[in-house]
Symmetry: C2
Subunit: 315 residues, 2 copies
Amino acid sequence: MKVAALGGGVGAGRFLRGLARLVPGDDLTVIVNVGDDVRVHGLHVSPDPDSVVYWLGDAFDRERGWGRRGDTFRATEELRAFGAPDAWFSLGDLDLATHLFRTTGLADGVPLSEVTRRIAARFGVGARILPVTDDPLTTRIACRDRATGDRLDLHFQEYWVRRGGVDPVLSIRYEHAERSRPAPGVLEALAAADAIVVCPSNPAVSIGPILAVPGVREALVARRERVVGISGIVGGAPVAGMADRLLPALGVEVSAVGVAAHYREFLAAWVIDERDRDLAPAIERMGVRVGVLDTIMRDDERAEAVARAALALLG
Amino acid sequence: MKVAALGGGVGAGRFLRGLARLVPGDDLTVIVNVGDDVRVHGLHVSPDPDSVVYWLGDAFDRERGWGRRGDTFRATEELRAFGAPDAWFSLGDLDLATHLFRTTGLADGVPLSEVTRRIAARFGVGARILPVTDDPLTTRIACRDRATGDRLDLHFQEYWVRRGGVDPVLSIRYEHAERSRPAPGVLEALAAADAIVVCPSNPAVSIGPILAVPGVREALVARRERVVGISGIVGGAPVAGMADRLLPALGVEVSAVGVAAHYREFLAAWVIDERDRDLAPAIERMGVRVGVLDTIMRDDERAEAVARAALALLG
């Protein structure tokens, strides 16, 4: 059974630990958001592809919620002592190796997708990890400075990491998306998959940039009957992250129903948490099958159960 | 009293600890070799300027003989796990911050001399640390592969760090030197100095590249009466480093006399170790005054004594 998953960040990583148990090796392709990618100290940092690799390679720091387990921050602390302009973005010392390896590869003309493949191989990840595009694509947040009321136009990382996500969001855009092309293998994986899984990732800044790459949304719509998603919104709030602050800017209600409606064009089935059981009828009225279970993935066993339920919904 | 010193590497750093005690603050200008500069993982690494800054900022690892005291090598070990092509060149995690700061500065168009000034400021170094040039200048070693006999043309770091300095040396050249210009302040410091001190650094790969920058040798010759050097060769062998393997390629005898003869065009006075006392007459016959004392700089006190003797020789 071949599965293609779309995702990025913690919600995806946690879930993919379970999915990879059911779909071993390169029968699983993960198409990952690159809208968060950012240059830090001149290095190309790919937070979502790295998170997915670190999760699947069992190198992720689950307690910290980002970066590599057992990492230290000596270089970053030093860069703060230098007054380096990018020192607000912490990079672990082990993590730096990933960014140096990626940046030198890109400088040598190796595409991001191939560099990512090499990084995944170093961590022993059997699944194919594909950045959605090898081209530039940046999520930008227009917001109001909470203190001054000034309009700001920020890289997603500036909005979230530097400023703590406190500024009221006006709109979200996926810069350069219209000119980007799917990375080699992305459309092929979507066409060949027996199941396409939308991970419980942030619809605005993890799934949104993936769908903004021309051809990807169309591929999902064309294969709607094989698409299942897992709601990352439980009880009206995101299990992790800042989706509650971003979804309203897209006109999406912060609920398992709201996100299903946002995805309905390509969604055949939707997994929601048992606490949202009462929302099932509203989702089913959209023509979307619903699975209900405990979706809080405390460990890999729970993640596997959620993945099994999602695949089962496709019949 | 204003002093300009020429040097690079361990011999210079050790000595400059003493000289800076006698010539505090920015009355001391150190003109530093950049022929060892090398790109590692895409980063601009300046071994000699960093060594001088770390020595004067009391951050140098005296036991290891390079890099920062208390450094760790987690990122470099990770890069080895990636199979990164430059992983033969170890960069400490703290040291990486210096290289990231330098590389981003250069990418933003800041000249190497200004980036170096900022790095020195971060380490509280009062002396002015000037790379001899802001332009590209690379020391290259032509040698025979010890195993195969093939002719090799290597960056100095490949010859020394990667291959361990074991290949018989044929010749040394300072690539791009003829097109380089002295960094802002270099010729001014040489013109204004009450004393010009040639540190006990490797004549072939530390002092040689400095003299190869058009205008620098001429400035020393013009001020010959104010130039004193300290021999880094004691008892026919270098106190540190690989000068013994390189000097023959320049036709220079590996002795305190040989190096004095190599420098005689601009040398008024030469400090040699007491073990080389019998060489004094041969040096004096070249028209060079000689100072004799214990030049092994076990600590800053000995370094200060050597510096005092050197300055005293100029009268």
